[in-house]
Point group: C2
Chain length 261, copies 2
Amino acid sequence: MDYGAMTPAEVRRLIRKGEITSQTSGMCRGYAQANLVTIPRENAYDFLLFAQRNPKPCPILEVSDTGSRKLHQIAEDVDIAKDFPKYRVYKKGELAGEYTDVSELWRDDFVSFLIGCSFSFESDLLAADVPVRQIEEGCNVPMYRTSIPCVPAGIFKGNMVVSMRPIPHELVPKAVLITGQMPRVHGAPVHIGTPEAIGINDLQHPDYGDMVTIKDGEVPVFWPCGVTPQNVIMESKPEFVITHAPGHMLITDVKNVNLKY
Amino acid sequence: MDYGAMTPAEVRRLIRKGEITSQTSGMCRGYAQANLVTIPRENAYDFLLFAQRNPKPCPILEVSDTGSRKLHQIAEDVDIAKDFPKYRVYKKGELAGEYTDVSELWRDDFVSFLIGCSFSFESDLLAADVPVRQIEEGCNVPMYRTSIPCVPAGIFKGNMVVSMRPIPHELVPKAVLITGQMPRVHGAPVHIGTPEAIGINDLQHPDYGDMVTIKDGEVPVFWPCGVTPQNVIMESKPEFVITHAPGHMLITDVKNVNLKY
């Protein structure tokens, strides 16, 4: 099956039936994918405020109604509890299990946050001949904890996590302009070069993901990363959280190009 | 006193002492001004969600911590209860009074929303030789209720209110591009020409503000308007709301140019 050429609705249906449980990278080319944070209503105001105050690491594409497993803005015909190929459940900040369907765990007080993902701008970088190393090397993007504080909100506080892509020095301005057009999927870099200036002391050993090759003449460029909100949530140890499993995302009906406007 | 050339901190200090109680239009040239909605925490989640779902009419610049009269992001040294020249208090959707200081009314459960204002993009339009008619004619911008539904959130629902500026037809694309650079102060127009297509049946009689002259060769251009959130809040009749009085805004430390990035 060529999942890359299928429509988002077709792929979501296969995921819902349990026929796809793999990572979603490369599926439904041209459409945005979304990260998930589902938390009880009790913590939802603080999290929504955290996102409002930190839109670069935490760009929210849609927030569900309380208790609802449906969406209305970024996709039609969605079941939030079934349409991600894999979920993680955390209790008081500890991983409590992985599931391919969380409908049995659903509660009337759950609120779901759908968060933008840098997959969307990576396809624009590639289209404009800016290399994306972790795609070339077939691994995860390297991610680092930084010393850049997020603006706290209620129970949520912590530093920003960034993703790193090595960019040939002559293409750095182009990479800034391309990604700056898409603030709803993290937007422009937060830092260029000099990793130690943002508290990254060992570039060769990322805190999450895999290291990639940095070639001569390339600059490490750092973008705000969607691991930030999950990381901040885990640190604050709320009673119960459901997230997507890394790389196992919701495929939305939103075309990447429409994230620019 | 030339308030236009003073710093935001200087003008806020005069307003706090009660020495300025007038409209703030034209004060502290180059700096953004903000609208106010202060509501009890009980309604704040629904309102924050409404803003997240309707960022064009309701672009939030900052949300206070619950109970706090301070701000941290858009201005230092602020007293939310004193630094607007005039406030309005609404009880169950009815205007209950105007005040120049609301510190005596303050409660520990109040949350304040500071909302972007189109003053910021009007200075860019003027700088680029795009006329802004209500400034030329020394009156308020005309505003209209439309048939464009906002996305509802909790207790808040209603249609969008728009402001109208007549633009010479050859300058319409330029006006779209200039204002589109500033989504945090309403951004690009929501509609161009054909007022009846968005439910405006009598262009000569705006629902708020004043009518302005539309000259031959000019097109009515409609922008999402900051009256939308106030209007939606009033319709839902929450127990207690404080807003700024129209035109009597907070002068922030944010330069208009920085609203583009």
